[in-house]
Amino acid sequence: MLPNFCNWLSNTPLSVKIQTILWIIPAVQTVHILCVAIIMSTMAMLDFRLIGLAGTRQPVSGAVRRWVPWVWGTLPVMLLTGCILIIGEPTRELMNPYFRTKMAMLAIVVVITAFIQLRNRREAYWESRALAAKFAGAFSLLLWVSILTAGRWIAYY
């Protein structure tokens, strides 16, 4: 079913165009990586603050308000560039265990990030739950680093 879909997709005019114009994939990957740069940096700042390792002059609630919107702003560009890469090389991506693991981890981290942001609306929510904040920060950081690593390993399957 999925292999057939990949086969069909790779024969569509759009996919053929992406495959034959040689600069498209490296250019789209570059934009994709620049988006990863924004997300990794902002999330590292947030997660280290949640864990309590950096930026401690600012309260957690302020850090959440400062950094989380960058993820929601960048994620659509990530998904768009990611989709172009999938359309260009459907089998390489969709049939790849690193890619699938990456998507599963992405789904989890999006839920965690939304949870961190939503709970932050309550007065001093994370400030009064230091241990939960540490756990959320560490889990989020681990997931983002794993997502990036899995993304890089797609090329080595």
Binding site: P26, Q29, V36, A37, I38, S41, A44, L148, R152
Partner: protein, 164 residues
């Protein structure tokens, strides 16, 4: 010229041979390199955005400088070490690779731009520290830095499509 000699020496070290022959070492080092670069570029961009008045406008320039640039430097050190390890595995080929040379040249320009800013406009930051609109020289430095980093990432990605 001593660079080709250095390249052939480094790629014949045991370490280079180990990275070259191992199935997992190169992608692992590469993952660390990419992770480091994302922190370098993202954190540098945060400061550049402040110079351009796009983000962190409620903070002083020197505060963002203090907050963010230590991350840039620490991550840059990691990126250089991981990058050098990848380079060593096939030094001569990288040295002769066009996009690799362009990447190194662009990095040189990044450093030059940052040095000019640090020893130039930033010396007088106290006069415009809390301004949302920084002097043209500072905005120029921020804009140039952003553009150069985009090219560093682009050339870096391009290496993977050209190195045989």
């Amino acid at each position: 010229m001593i660079i080709p000699q250095f390249c052939s020496w480094v790629e014949n070290t045991k370490m280079a041979a180990a990275i070259r022959t191992s199935t997992w070492m190169f992608p692992t080092i590469e993952s660390i390199h990419v992770l480091a670069i994302t922190i370098v570029v993202g954190s540098a961009a945060m400061f550049d955005f402040r110079l351009l008045g796009i983000a962190s406008r409620d903070r002083t320039v020197s505060q963002v400088h203090r907050e963010v640039l230590p991350w840039t430097w620490a991550a840059f050190a990691c990126a250089v070490v991981a990058g050098f390890l990848m380079f060593s595995s096939d030094a001569m080929k990288y040295y002769q690779n066009g996009p690799f040379r362009w990447k190194m040249f662009t990095l040189l320009l990044v450093g030059l731009n940052a040095a000019i800013f640090e020893f130039g406009p930033f010396r007088g930051v106290s006069r415009w520290d809390s301004e949302k609109k920084t002097p043209i020289s500072a905005r120029l430095a921020g804009g140039i830095s952003l553009v150069l980093w985009v090219f560093v990432v682009g050339f870096g990605r391009w290496i993977g499509f050209t190195k045989i």
